[in-house]
Symmetry: C2
Subunit: 196 residues, 2 copies
Amino acid sequence: MSLVLDAAAQNLLFREARTANTFTDEPVTDEQVQAIYDLVKYGPTSMNQSPLRVTLVRSPEARERLVQHMSEGNKPKTAAAPLVAILSADNEFHEELPRLFPHFPQAKDMFAADRLVREKNAALNAALQAAYFIVGVRAAGLAAGPMTGGDLEGIRKEFLDDDHTPLMVVNIGRPGQDAWFPRSPRLEYGQVVTTV
Amino acid sequence: MSLVLDAAAQNLLFREARTANTFTDEPVTDEQVQAIYDLVKYGPTSMNQSPLRVTLVRSPEARERLVQHMSEGNKPKTAAAPLVAILSADNEFHEELPRLFPHFPQAKDMFAADRLVREKNAALNAALQAAYFIVGVRAAGLAAGPMTGGDLEGIRKEFLDDDHTPLMVVNIGRPGQDAWFPRSPRLEYGQVVTTV
């Protein structure tokens, strides 16, 4: 066996973890979200850019506004999940670089001139952090239900601003009844990994 | 403590894991890469798109060609790492959807008409999978050294084709002497997570 990670952790994070479509009523607390963040904040990003931002949609009024922007198939679970989070990329992440990447003081200036370069970096690195966040939700014993099906531009206008680009919406909670479909096939190793 | 994941696994994957800049000579085997893939292939993507492709650069001749495309600061470690992988997004991922997402046979057609939509989906979901891959490298007891500093378009032309977009290059191996800098600060919870 080539893995060092213990089998229980493998199961919790990957092998038995599934995208949940239904949830129990058990609330997800701010303490749980903080514990998730305090674990996954260490996941690497380019130059420690750390552009991921998380908007927890807790008020019933905000939840209702969010549901309106989701695709039809995603509306019921977005309405029902114990907690819903909007994950977005901060395109002004470079403002934090003097603190986040202190051994290279020019880092902020490298990004100051070109918004498109910032958007590209923020999109890639916030996506890496979104994946770490999903892994972290599972590390807390919860199920994640990441969704890209919705009007992300509408969500931006409703909840964020021009400097933030939403990547996905994630339902979070304990899985409920019939929480998932049978697992779909994955590509074979040889279809994904080639050697030169 | 709000996390279910055991402390050893938290340390292995996030708290003590670091981006390595130097490596020992110990080889990374295909069996290790296969074990990593067979764990992280289960990480979720939109509609199970699974667009990540991995090119292992094993021959000395290919390694030399790759090094030429890396930024100056990344050349020595790319030359020295036991294994180097190019992670890319397959923009023709929709061809696999009939197998990967069998309960929605129209999935492939949804993406057939619009290359730009495919590129956007592939970029996001391959980035999620790149993060799962980095976590998987750590799960194998190895260190990852992900790098975006280089001529990615040159790498595409050298190693891939028009249908693949490189996201990053990852050095893989056991950490060597002085493998990392002191860890840089992370953003506070309140700078990242807000509630509405």
